[in-house]
């Protein structure tokens, strides 16, 4: 009997450390739903208890049912049958059935559709826990944003028809966006949407790399305005599989084998328009993608957690030179860095999710239920605007940081295991393969940097860092805060320099600027955790001689972690900001000479 929620002291700690009450209050709208739905909470304590009960129960399902099937899922993969149907690996089919029974397929949907109405923060925790068990299953569980998009933008009739089915786990969805010539650049989407004389919509064309394209509800981005190029010519339509939807191919992939990646030919498929014409890409798909990006960040943290645990376990039991290899400095360093990277990533992911929730809550309240007092209404509107901007910057930061981090951790997990790690006897190699896609899909790391660097250079990062710096901290972290303040100044100087050089230079050095901003944000978050009010003891590593594990306060561990993180990053921040300020433009001027002609492959 395992439990991936209960055995993870960092998630349990953050569940208490982060103030969930404002999120619960906002999402339950004064707990008015309790009158109508007997499962809706009556007060804030009940809401938070609900969150934890569901995470706890999901943690058990993940440990006892889903994780033991992950290896066979990876080996078996999906099968495209002659009739065009897709057979899922046995384990995934069983997992989906269990998740439906567990009533967790409508995590963030409103109560009235049978959803749990949970905040995104709790959904991120769930996504992380599930990804640790089987990263490829997350591509089905984590696609709840599709239902969320229908909820946000579709007509009441469509919502009534589909959302209860999503919540019951009777249907799964797919975001059908990518085409052979439209990957990162979705404005180039060509697939045609047209109307007949009665006004019925149809889809015609090819989509590829469609995750769960064999799902039961397909949201398709299509060109509804043939004479308009770019994003303004695109609409979002919903269709179901049928005789006009042909799965032509399943991709043979490096990782996430449990998740079917389909090429689909739509042969004049009847479809329904979601929301308004021409708003398909902006805002509908962009909103959908932002949610999905947080999901992939959570997938990254989950994979990293799984990979770290194998390495940690192996290092404690594998003996070389007469000692467990965790006694060797190089191995210890790897393990500590993996652990801190995961907890830093988790801090950023959860904080981002919290900010996204607050942005939603403020916006919802400002639009639907503004305060009568003029000043209060204005303040609410300002908050909504500011938090939307924070969310717009933190979302790509989380996706970028957590997915790059999980690749490093999975790589190092294999490294700790040495030759054994390269073999299929251990799951490290699966985690490394599963990790690889996370920096690519839902926008590559490079695109996340492009999205985040705008926020870094436009003052949003500065504002957010100022807000973080103004929070209350314990005196023990005062020296760390000073280092972070110094780093913030170095970042400001680099930003100033970059702005003088122009937009092209900003994209060229976006990565350094975003790296520094993330390091600073994470530094504050870890200092915040080191100043926590939560009292919780956690075990420390035993030396193998006694069975009774010694414990220390989590606060103490977090202080050590914050110290190591901030102190190790300070010289890096200095170096990266100096690099930006060197003004090197050789990437532009010397490319041809440096890389030479296109070589033979």
């Amino acid at each position: 009997m395992g439990n991936f929620y209960r055995d993870n002291d960092d998630i349990r700690f953050l569940f208490r450390h982060i103030d969930l009450a404002p999120l619960a209050n906002a999402f339950e709208e004064g707990y008015r739903f309790a009158k109508e739905f007997d499962y809706a909470p009556q007060n804030v304590d009940e809401a938070i208890r609900n969150y934890e009960m569901v995470l706890d129960s999901l943690g058990e399902l993940c440990a006892d049912f889903i994780a033991p099937r992950a290896e066979s899922v990876d080996r078996e993969g999906n099968t495209l049958n002659e009739d065009g149907s897709v057979t899922r690996p046995k384990g995934i089919a069983e997992d989906i059935e269990k998740l439906a029974q567990a009533e967790v397929m409508g995590f963030t949907l409103p109560h009235r559709f049978g959803g749990l109405n949970f905040p995104n923060l709790v959904y991120s925790m769930a996504n992380e826990i599930l990804s640790r068990a089987d990263a490829s299953l997350m591509n089905i569980f984590g696609l709840q944003g599709i239902a969320e998009t229908i909820n946000a933008f579709a007509s009441e009739e469509i919502k009534q028809k589909y959302l209860p089915l999503f919540a019951e786990g009777k249907v799964t969805g797919a975001m059908v966006l990518t085409e052979p010539d439209a990957g990162s650049d979705l404005q180039a989407v060509k697939l045609r949407a047209y109307q007949d004389s009665q006004g019925n919509w149809f889809l015609h064309g090819v989509k590829r790399f469609i995750t769960n394209g064999c799902g039961e509800v397909l949201l398709v981005l299509a060109r509804s305005e043939p004479d308009r190029s770019g994003g303004m010519g695109l609409s979002l339509l919903l269709c179901e599989p049928g005789p006009t939807v042909h799965i032509r191919r399943l991709e043979d992939k490096l990782g996430i084998h449990g998740s079917p990646t389909c090429e689909i030919f739509f042969d004049n498929t009847p479809a329904t328009l979601i929301g308004e014409r021409q708003r398909g890409l902006v805002p509908y798909v962009m909103t959908l993608m932002n949610g999905a990006r947080i999901g992939i960040a959570a997938q990254g943290v989950g994979i990293a957690e799984a990979a770290y645990r194998i390495a940690r376990d192996y290092a404690a039991s594998r003996r070389q030179f007469g000692v467990a290899i965790e006694k060797l400095p190089a191995v210890r360093d790897l393990l500590i860095d993996m652990k801190i990277a995961i907890e830093a990533g988790r801090a950023l992911l959860y904080d981002t999710s919290r900010v996204v929730d607050l942005a939603l809550a403020y916006n919802n309240q400002a639009e639907n239920n503004p305060p009568a007092d003029k000043d209060a209404a204005k303040k609410l509107k300002d908050n909504a605007r500011v938090y939307k901007r924070y969310a717009g910057m933190l979302t790509p930061m989380s996706k970028y940081y957590c997915t790059e981090m999980c690749n490093r951790v999975a790589y190092d997990s294999i490294q700790v295991l040495g030759g054994s790690g390269f073999m299929r006897d251990y799951a490290s190699e699966r985690h490394a393969r599963d990790a690889r896609i996370t920096t690519i899909y839902e926008g590559t790391s490079q695109l996340q940097v492009v999205a985040a660097v705008r926020g870094v250079c436009s003052g949003t990062a500065e504002k957010y860092l100022t807000e973080l710096a103004a929070l209350p901290y314990d005196p023990q972290v005062r020296d760390l805060l000073a280092k972070l303040a110094e780093g913030t100044q170095q970042l400001q100087a680099a930003i100033e320099f970059t702005k003088q050089q122009g937009n092209e230079y900003m994209d060229l050095h976006g990565r350094e600027l975003v790296d520094v901003a993330i390091d600073l944000i994470n530094g504050y978050l870890l200092c915040g955790q080191a100043s926590t009010k939560v009292q919780m003891n956690v075990p420390i590593a035993g030396d193998g001689s006694s069975k009774s594990g010694q414990t220390i306060p989590m606060k103490q561990r977090k202080l050590l972690m914050a110290r190591r993180y901030v102190e190790k990053n300070a010289p890096r921040i200095k170096a990266l900001t100096e690099l930006v300020r060197q003004g090197d433009k050789s990437t532009f001027s010397d490319y041809e000479a440096l890389v030479g002609p296109v070589p033979e492959v």
Partner: protein, 303 residues
């Protein structure tokens, strides 16, 4: 159409987590040292009942007999899909052996409208596997033991597959029937999110009395009863009061209950300590493994 299932469940100490502190000096089990859990095969019985309900409709009622704390597994059953849960509790039922227990449970089951009674094959604390069969005899209904799967259910006849040790047997039985279910039956489903959210505040009167007592340590018995009654009524209004039956409510003959109804006498308790005495290195080769197997067969450890 549909079939009403009654599932009998027991709260047991988790004997899979036995550690050094678990036995008292007198050789009895120190229950406080072990987490109390839903008897595993009773979960399989509940799962089978829920699958019958999923396919054919009907209601699933779970009964447990035990201390007020056993309400915990009733909530668990509600989380997993049971329609109703009932606690049978009475200080006069203490020290009941399997005979007395099956008598008391028969009084409880008789009060319900049932087609199929399901219980786990055996509990992991006593390991007797007697209560199910005794209960069927007392109810005067057909019993099928060691059931691992339900194959068919039509025209009020059930076909089940039962494990007979070295194979299996298909048995068809008329309803009403009592099944004892093994751990090989379908994997129990977990808790469902909305069901947890709905039933997490469900309580029995006995639990409410305990919490009222804890909150008002100086109040007298009557005041506590009064406060608890108020709280229970409020819960009942929300459909969250778990019914609680005592021996009086069951019209049970007290001679058949508790110590007086229990002919079982414990002759001797022995604390068996299995200690590893020596270890032996087996070479990781075909010959090494073959030699080990041969030795184990000779020692009659494996057949």
């Amino acid at each position: 159409m549909g079939y009403n299932c009654v599932v009998l469940a027991k709260q047991v100490p988790d004997t899979h987590r036995i550690t050094g502190q678990v036995m008292n000096d007198d050789g009895t089990v120190n229950r406080s040292a072990l987490p109390a859990i839903f008897n595993p095969e009773d979960l399989n019985a509940l799962e089978m009942a829920l699958r019958i309900k999923d396919r054919f409709g009907g209601r699933v009622t779970v009964i447990t007999m035990g201390l007020p704390n056993a309400t915990k597994i009733l909530r668990d059953a509600l989380y997993r899909g049971a329609d109703e849960a009932i606690l049978v509790t009475d200080a006069r039922a203490a020290a009941s052996d399997t005979l007395a227990t099956s008598y008391i449970l028969s009084c409880a089951v008789r009060r319900l409208d049932y087609d199929i009674v399901l219980c786990g094959r055996q509990a992991i604390d006593g390991d007797t596997a007697q209560v199910g069969p005794q209960l069927a005899e007392k109810l005067g209904i057909t019993q099928v033991t060691y059931v691992e799967a339900m194959e068919a259910l039509e025209d009020r006849k059930i076909t089940v597959r039962r494990n007979i040790g070295n194979g299996w047997q298909l048995v068809r039985a008329p309803l009403p029937v009592l099944l004892t279910v093994t751990g090989d039956a379908g994997e129990p489903r977990g808790s469902a999110a909305r069901r947890m959210m709905r039933h997490k505040n469900a309580r029995t009167l006995a639990e409410i009395e305990q919490s009222v007592k804890a909150a008002n340590p100086t109040a007298d018995e009557a005041a506590i009863k009064n406060l608890a009654k108020k709280e229970a009524d409020a819960l009942a209004q929300r459909g969250l009061l778990i019914p609680q039956w005592d021996l009086t409510a069951l019209n049970a003959d007290l001679n058949w209950c508790g110590r007086s109804g229990s002919p079982t006498k414990v002759h001797r308790i022995q604390s068996v300590v299995l200690a590893a005495k020596e270890s032996k290195d087996i070479a990781p080769t075909e010959e090494g493994v073959a030699g080990m197997i041969h030795e184990l067969i000779q020692d009659k450890i494996i057949a």
